[in-house]
């Protein structure tokens, strides 16, 4: 397999990695794949947060809908505040994850080293993983203006303006999800219906809440159906800048 970049040497030759099986396109030098699980986890947590953001934005739109009712019909506790709060929380969480991104990687690195021989170029590999996360954020920005949405001061605008912007974010980010993942609910039953949790369930797929007693299999009300993806098909990032992470979005300059 020979797949080349342009003239200068590439990051990829040394730090390329392979995503598990599903990708039809493999970047060159893809035999070392030690960072893969971390990157996937990061990508998935980003997606999860993104979904929360999307849901909150949607909830907000719904709320806007309610507010459009004649004054006498307005509910007392505005759902708008609630969803704004949810959106705020989501933003905080996203920022937290962004800030913590380096955290888990550096914490896990020594553990991993104890298990296997020292990876050849850990610095480069980490950098490649980080570059891919930044590039994914770049995708959400390019298609769905997510970074613009989150970095703007939301308090300065009214709900109609926020609602209009949310539509841009929703349409674009949804297109990114549809293109690069295959997102499906973990459980297909209706929420609030009673379901049985499989014995020996995967801990990342189920979270049991409330009163836990007795023997598995457990049964209970499905509060949230969960989400998972079987496919991650992100573009390969070839040849990033050598001494920094790639830009999330370029500065645009129009020439006349």
């Amino acid at each position: 397999m020979r797949l080349r970049c342009g003239p200068p040497p590439t990051l990829l030759e040394s730090g390329g990695r392979l995503r598990p099986g599903r990708e039809s396109y493999n970047p060159p030098g893809a035999d070392a794949c030690k960072e893969a699980p971390v990157t996937i986890m990061k990508a998935v947590s980003l997606v999860a947060l993104l979904l929360v953001v999307a849901i909150s934005a949607l909830a907000m739109l719904l709320a806007l809908h309610v507010m459009a009712l004649p004054a006498g019909l307005q509910p007392v506790a505005g759902p708008l505040q609630l969803s704004a709060a949810a959106l705020g929380l989501a933003i905080i969480a996203l920022v937290a994850v962004a800030a913590l991104q380096r955290g888990p990687t550096s914490v896990q690195a020594p553990v991993a080293e104890a298990v296997r021989p020292a990876p050849p170029e850990p610095a480069t590999a980490t950098k490649q993983a980080d570059a891919e996360i930044v590039a994914f954020l770049g995708l959400l920005q390019a298609k769905g203006r997510l970074v613009d949405f989150l970095m703007d001061n939301i308090n300065a605008y009214n709900d109609a303006q926020v609602g209009a912007a949310a539509r841009v974010v929703h349409a674009g980010c949804r297109a990114v999800l549809d293109e690069h993942f295959q997102i499906v609910p973990i459980r297909t039953e209706k929420e609030q219906s009673r379901i049985e949790v499989p014995t020996g369930y995967a801990a990342d797929e189920y979270r049991l809440l409330g009163k836990l007693t007795g023997q598995p299999p457990f049964t209970g009300a499905l509060v949230h159906h969960g989400w998972r993806t079987d496919v991650v098909k992100l573009p390969a990032i070839l040849r990033g800048p050598a001494d920094r992470l790639p830009a999330i979005a370029p500065a645009e300059v129009e020439l006349k």
């Binding site: 397999m1 020979r2 797949l3 080349r4 970049c5 342009g6 003239p7 200068p8 590439t10 039809s24 396109y25 493999n26 970047p27 590039a135 770049g138 995708l139 390019a142 203006r145 613009d148 949405f149 970095m151 703007d152 939301i154 300065a156 605008y157 109609a160 303006q161 926020v162 609602g163 209009a164 912007a165 539509r167 841009v168 974010v169 349409a171 098909k233 992100l234 573009p235 390969a236 990032i237 070839l238 040849r239 990033g240 790639p246 370029p250 645009e252």
Partner: protein, 609 residues
Amino acid sequence: MTARFSLGIDLGTSNSAIAVSDLDSDQTRVIDVAQIVGVNQIGTRQTLASALYLPHPDEFPGGLATPWADPGEAGFVGQFARDHGALVPDRLVTSAKSWLSHPHIDARQPLLPWGSEIETKLSPFDCSRRYLTHLRQAFLQAERDQGRERDLADGQIVLTVPASFDEVARSLTAEAARAAGLGDVVLLEEPQAAFYAWTAQTGRAWHDLVSPGDIILVCDIGGGTADFSLIAVTDRQGTLELERISVGEHILLGGDNMDLALAYTVQSRLEDAGKPLDSWQFLSLVHAASRAKITLFEDASLSSAPIAIPSRGSSLFASTIATELDRATLDQVVLDGFLARTGLEDLPQEGRRGGLQEFGLPYASDPVISKHLARFLTRSLQNVRASEALSALVGDRANGAALMPTAVLFNGGVFKAEPVRARVLDLLASWNSGQPIRELLGAEPDLAVARGAAIYGRHRATGTGMRIKAGAARSYYVGLESAGLAVPGMKPKVKALCVVPQGMQEGSELLIEGRDFGLVTGRPAEFRFFSSAIRSGDTPGLILPDAERELEETSLLEIEIPALDDMPAGQVVPVRIDAAVTELGVLELWMKHVNSDRRWKIEFQVRTE
């Protein structure tokens, strides 16, 4: 050569795709195409955007990462070329394929991007070669990644062209494929490919879904072009036989026109409301309107779909414009605008021609697809009536005002929307005195052509499976200057000699007997070349009195014969015309010396000016 696989290539006007069929299994797979999707980003897509971006020499300092070693050709192809080029239109080449079939340009001249003044331009031929080169590399790379090292010499390669392409555009396409390293490819008409895909998708059941006497309309509307064909089903000793009996004209009208029309409608409303859009916002409006269209067409319960248009700056909240597309507007613009319920006698309007026109692609001047379809069905009847064999084939159906199909197969992205299919079916039924026309349910209208091409390649390589009888889609003629007295103010009429009859089969050759022509030796000689898609009855050797009135001029033919040893330059030698359609479906014309075995091939030359 024993082929081990068959590769189908759909070189589309706006998107291209490839599919491969292994001959030792019965699987046909669409191959994802690796392409540049962003600065330093390579991704795969089911289709390759047929767009080529020619960067400024100082744009992208350090160069862009490419999916494979680049031989150093100018520009790049694919998704990023289209996305980025949309904002730098001077440097973006699109619709190269339509330029390849342009009747008045030389496709080998560096003309694209059209009307732009950038330092290096490319010819329509080179652009097609670049797309095909990209597809070839993407195929080899994708197979290599799966552990298969493919040799193209082991493959049957089928490249699709619009049925409306004339011989010049076909041979340019075949030559572009050779120049792209694909070797000698077999050409297949896109509507036929869509039909092969449909038969493969339905399996054996297709035999039950059509029956002798059926006439199937393949209605293929892509992003930028509409292409129609009719296929007749007959019974020959108990087996179904299919024959392509008519092809349409090259119509530059498609789904992109619909999206643009929607965007213009929404834009003018916004302007009335005091919200003007800049060109960047207009582009995002086109995308948003297209999404809203899909939403409304997919969910009949919605009465409107929201549209939000962001501004260019980083503040999303301050300047996003919110509006909506309502169903009445959608129906009015797309269904009633492009697929109006017009009568069968209502044919496309020729646009009023101003004295001076801007030269460009010959876009359809009438946007109503219904009228183009009516014209196609009317012309098809004319074509069928011109030949006894075809008249016998369609029987009673030749009696109406147009040749009405009994079933329709839709292809192209536009027909993903059920209401659009329903409207066309409605329209056809209204032309068929209320009798409904069946729909043959296809799948994956974006990928069916590539898939069908691979399946046809399999049938061809293995000698099994159904083949549509097709042959030459048009009849071809060489112009003869008539010898006559010169009359001031009267241009002498050009006669036309039929050299290739419609339906002439692949791998056949015919000599026009009993008629010798004088050919000048020692200096170049030029011939005018004409064609027609509606004269199925013309036989080789037939002479039409007025070529310009009855036929379409296709190109110039050129031949230069060195002076024969024993004759002075300028000597006229007697020749006969010999026409062949090669196994690959390419038309060849030869001049055969009457008194010796010598013969000379005539090359298709530049388009007429």
